[in-house]
Symmetry: C2
Subunit: 247 residues, 2 copies
């Protein structure tokens, strides 16, 4: 390596951010493809998603290493430090997002072997599109340092919960009506849960972006759609599985 | 504040580590109590777990703030830097562990309103005890800087998967045999999934402890019990929901 080539500190930080942006694009594509593979019963696409996940893992490890190196060697402070720590956090959320997309694809493979269940997979598709949009919006916010867009994603967290709760009820009804569908419906249930958690990661990313830009935490509780039994003033005596917060 | 009281850098780092240890103890207790509340249908205990979760959130935020301050002001390198970043990572895994325990407790409240299902809750209890033990072991490894113990927790990750897979099959069989149990069994399913994920966090902590002590990553794939359809050489034409990796 040319000893006279000294990488400017600013370049190193920009390169780190750029790698996170790239990782974000890959994670977005994985989520979109995974949902597509469910909707179209597309086995080849599902397998491609499963295979590509290792690239996200590699990017995560690389971003972590670079961040630690940067902190150790450059000793950043203030907003540069926040950017570096933010890169590590985002890489972590994106790696988990990729894992969840891979798991949706694995279940898509299984479902493709059984009878089509178009009404239900269409609901998954709709929820998937909402979650994909939130992920895309928050990554746009990161790329362009747009604090309002990050705030907007953060404060509409409950939209995803509403989809999840409705899907959950739909699946339970289906299962109770026809026990032969229980196994397949369980897969769809976990797909819905995975999508909800991808939505959570998008919200995490929104918080990280906000903190990175402003140096402050987004205050308050995340918006949640349905209060769970532990949060209701008078617990209702019914079996409601819709409280899924933090699952 | 007394200007002449200057906190030694080493003290600051030790204090950070001590706070993580304390958070670990609280997370352990939450997991154990949540499982107990399921096994004994103990409504008061479940409510206590739900309420105490905010303490874990507060500790997480505090550890993060202190870590960032420490990095900014003391500019640690080498093993001190790894310790500081390790504290942040552990606090993150422990906060998620607490959320999962809270969610188990919320579902315990719901189940306590219905008919007892002792065979199934006993299975949950057994899986819970295994997961609790792994969490305790890995936190002991952190407290005492024992690299071999961390490695041991990491390499026995598949034990948890085996419990999960068996529980999953048990629950599906139950649901298919009696559709009136579907809602309750779905709660138990998510409890099992939460326990599996707590197990994952214990494994994450093992990796962090290993890296913190040695400066190296634990190599290789985490041990997984049952290969999923995406990993089998010849996909078997059956609906198997047991592949739960990364859910």
């Amino acid at each position: 390596m040319n000893q006279h080539t000294v990488k400017a500190y600013g370049d190193e930080l920009n390169q780190l951010t750029a790698e996170v942006v790239r990782m974000g694009g890959l994670a977005e594509a994985q989520v979109a493809d995974a949902i597509e593979s469910v909707a179209r019963r597309d086995v080849a696409l599902a397998k491609a998603v499963i295979e590509r996940d290792s690239r996200l893992d590699a990017l995560h490890r690389d971003i972590e290493k670079k961040s630690i190196r940067l902190i150790a060697l450059r000793q950043p402070v203030a907003s540069d430090l926040r950017r570096t720590l933010g890169a590590m956090k985002l890489a972590s959320d994106l790696e988990r997002t990729g894992d969840l997309a891979k798991n949706i694809a694995k279940r898509a493979l299984i479902l493709a072997e059984g009878e089509p269940m178009q009404v239900l997979t269409r609901s998954i598709e709709r929820m998937g599109r909402l979650v994909s949009t939130r992920l895309r919006d928050v990554l746009d916010a990161y790329t362009a340092s747009e604090v309002e867009r990050a705030q907007s994603v953060w404060s509409t967290d409950d939209e995803v919960d509403e989809h999840y709760n409705a899907l959950f009820r739909e699946l339970l009804t289906y299962m109770m009506g026809d026990p032969r569908t229980i196994t397949a419906c369980t897969h769809l249930l976990f797909m819905a849960k995975n999508l909800e958690r991808i939505g959570d990661h998008a919200t995490n990313i929104a918080e990280t972006v906000y903190y990175e830009i402003t140096g402050e935490d987004l205050l308050g509780e995340r918006p949640k759609a349905v209060p769970g039994p532990g949060e209701e003033a008078t617990p209702t005596p019914h079996l409601s599985p819709t409280d899924s917060a933090a699952d």
